[in-house]
């Protein structure tokens, strides 16, 4: 049985806001009103994006100006929601026993863009630009500096599975005895590199993403952060299983058979020592691209069967890329916390309702549903990244 790994506190920010309780109410209501066009980012397209409002973001402290970027402002917004718990944990175990693992694919790429635009036009980078703003490792380094932590602090960047993978490493840091608490999550901000890049792949839908529909035609990009305080206590909501695999298929497309996705989900079940029948809800990767949904439905039907309730939350907040795994785990964590009278509330799957007869059968959640969830109640989330990098997490209440 895996060693204790408590997801003790969670903070987050995304297109639905910067208040976890308000976000959860909108998620449970299937609220799709957060999307808006952002012409400055949309690579010339009229796309809808799940953007975070600047007004929600705190200022990076002056002493840490070298880490000032939108990405770290997301992290700080999430952190401020759990700051008391984090400060208590740091005081209890000492700064040398606290680690940081952050998933990100962009870090300060947006700020680098501004610096390079300046160089293209004026012959030199913006004078205030610092490499720490840009580099991927800065996503973790920022938090280590903020609390003057002396434990390990690193970033994981495996595209869209980065945020999930950060939690896997956090659990192993506790198990290996190197840390007694870890700040782990993901943060990713929209920038020209990602919007232009996904445009070049023709992967973006002109409307709000429509996963698992016969009419699905691509993803909707989003941004945000989710941050967990992870501790070695054995009560509360625990990270029980981690599954990981590589596709060995194609740099930007999944194996159509879904073998990598199935291996990832099986790995999480095996790691937790449970079987598929115990999974009460699956948060799908569910990007809304033709390829992802075809292979994911196949893998889900194969591993979990056609009866496990599933939904994708990307039609609510967009695909938050390097932060997606952490944000979607945060929704799963909130669902477990919202259990009442033995029932687990299910997040509705928003799409046009036109199921695709060519997809393997899976059960998509409708409005206002709940499932009986007495005793062991397990919730799973899938993250599949570019480059063929898959990670599945399984969480649940501590088992007696």
């Amino acid at each position: 049985m895996p060693s204790p790994c408590k997801l003790a506190a969670m903070g987050m920010v995304n297109a639905l806001g910067a208040d976890p309780d308000a976000i959860w109410r909108r998620v449970l209501a299937g609220d799709q009103s957060a999307f808006a066009p952002h012409p400055e980012l949309a690579a010339g397209g009229a796309w809808l994006l799940g953007g975070v409002e600047d007004a929600w973001l705190p200022r990076i402290p002056d002493g840490l100006a070298r880490y000032a970027c939108r990405n770290n402002a997301f992290t700080l917004a999430a952190l401020e929601q759990i700051e008391d718990a984090v400060r208590d944990a740091v005081a209890a175990v000492g700064p040398e026993r606290v680690g940081v693992v952050m998933g990100t694919s962009t870090s300060g790429s947006g700020e680098c863009e501004a610096a390079i635009l300046h160089e293209t036009r004026h012959g030199s980078l913006l004078p205030e630009f610092r490499y720490e703003q840009l580099e991927l490792g800065g996503a973790a380094g920022f938090l280590a500096e903020l609390f003057d932590l002396r434990g390990p602090a690193f970033s994981i960047s495996t595209a869209c599975s980065s945020g999930a993978r950060a939690l896997a490493s956090a659990r192993s840091l506790l198990a290996l005895g190197l840390c007694d608490a870890v700040l782990a999550g993901g943060s990713d901000s929209l920038c020209g590199l990602t919007t232009h890049g996904f445009a070049s792949l023709s992967a973006v839908s002109a409307r709000i993403t429509n996963p698992f529909s016969r009419n699905r035609d691509g993803l909707t990009l989003g941004e945000g952060a989710a941050l967990f305080l992870v501790t070695r206590e054995s009560d509360g909501i625990q990270l029980l299983g981690v599954g990981e695999s590589s596709e060995a298929h194609h740099i930007s497309a999944p194996d159509p058979e879904g073998r990598g996705a199935a291996a990832s989900m099986r790995g999480a079940l095996h790691d937790a020592g449970v079987d598929a029948a115990q999974v009460a809800y699956l948060n799908l990767h569910g990007t809304g691209t033709r390829q992802n949904d075809a292979m994911e439905s196949r893998a889900v039907a194969q591993v979990l069967g056609a009866e496990v309730p599933c939904s994708s939350t990307k039609p609510l907040v967009g695909h938050c890329l390097g932060a997606a795994g952490a944000i979607e785990l945060a929704f799963c964590w909130q669902a477990l916390r919202a259990r009442s009278r033995g029932a687990l509330p299910l997040i509705p799957h928003r799409y046009d309702g036109e199921s695709d007869p060519e997809l393997a059968p899976i059960r998509l959640c409708g409005d206002g549903e709940a499932v009986p969830a007495s005793g062991a109640c397990l919730v799973m989330t899938n993250s599949f990244g570019f480059g063929g990098n898959n990670c599945t997490l399984l969480i649940g209440e501590a088992r007696a």
Binding site: E96, S105, S109, C112, E113, I116, L117, E119, T120, S124, L125, F129, R130, E132, L134, E135, G137, A140, G141, A144, L149, R150, G151, P152, A153, F154, I156, S157, T158, A159, A168, S169, S172, L176, L178, G192, L193, H196, G197, F198, A199, S200, L201, V242, E244, S245, S246, E247, A248, H249, H250, I251, S252, G260, D271, G385, F386, G387, G388, N389
Partner: protein
């Protein structure tokens, strides 16, 4: 201390002028008498299919050459992998950003080679490897954190082997003035496990407040020097923490 066995290691770096350090014997000679390393040149990666080789960036060539040199064919498909790079695909990203700044169209191929896990993905495809893989970065302290991430994989899968690959090259254009580090292009690969034949090491990390000194060599090559020279221990002060390896 955590116990780990270095089953095999390889590294690749250009010499100044022409040629490269690529065999353990080259590195043993270098460990006895370090000579400056170059920042030009790249390995041949003959094992890659020609279309893949043509598209491979220099960082891909560096990291995949070290990865292949360090593993036998049967191992390649069944190890877990950890790839680490401070700067990753920065050359590709800067090129794309300059294209965007000039109002040009981004190529899908360029974009798919701009993610930090490009080398991990290409290795998985070339070697037919379907196992767990992560790609990390940790500012000036990337080498030791990548080593740690490899140990975290061994924690999750104690009976498996982990191939740890690290590589970097001098960063492009005017960005280079923003960092203080050796301007070397290199890659190193370590095949790690909890038991078996090889060099057994103890690994530990402690909190530290000692200032980080400017390095003559990248941390990864300090580690290669430690292995090649048969030294009893290696200590790397990173400014926040102190890493230690002991024979």
């Amino acid at each position: 201390m955590t116990r780990v066995v270095v089953r095999r290691w390889r590294a690749w770096a250009p010499r100044v002028g022409a040629g490269a350090l690529e065999t353990p014997a080259d590195w043993e000679a270098w460990a006895r008498e370090p000579v400056p390393l170059g920042d030009h040149g790249e390995p041949e990666v003959r094992f890659l299919a020609p279309p893949v080789r043509r598209r491979a960036t220099r960082l891909t060539r560096l990291m995949l050459q070290a990865a292949y040199d360090c593993t036998e064919e049967a191992e390649r498909a069944c190890v877990r992998t950890v790839f680490a790079s401070r700067h990753g695909a920065i050359h590709v990203a800067v090129k794309i950003l300059a294209e965007i700044a000039r109002g040009e169209i981004v190529s899908p191929l360029q974009f798919s080679h701009s993610v930090h896990n490009t080398q991990a993905g290409l290795f998985s495809i070339a070697a037919g490897n379907r196992h767990a893989s992560s790609s990390i970065a940790a500012e000036t302290d990337t080498f030791a954190h990548g080593f740690l991430e490899a140990l975290l994989h061994l924690e999750r899968a104690p009976s498996e082997e982990v191939l740890y690959v690290i590589g970097d090259e001098p960063i492009p254009g005017s960005l280079i003035h923003l960092v203080d580090e050796p301007r070397t292009a290199y890659a190193a690969a370590l095949l790690l496990s909890r038991s078996g034949e090889g060099t057994p090491l103890g690994f530990g990390m402690t909190a530290s407040r000692a200032p980080r000194k400017t390095r003559e060599w990248p941390d990864a090559l300090e580690f290669v020097r430690f292995l090649a020279a048969g030294a009893p221990e290696l200590t790397l002060e990173s400014g926040r923490r102190c890493w230690r390896w002991e024979r």
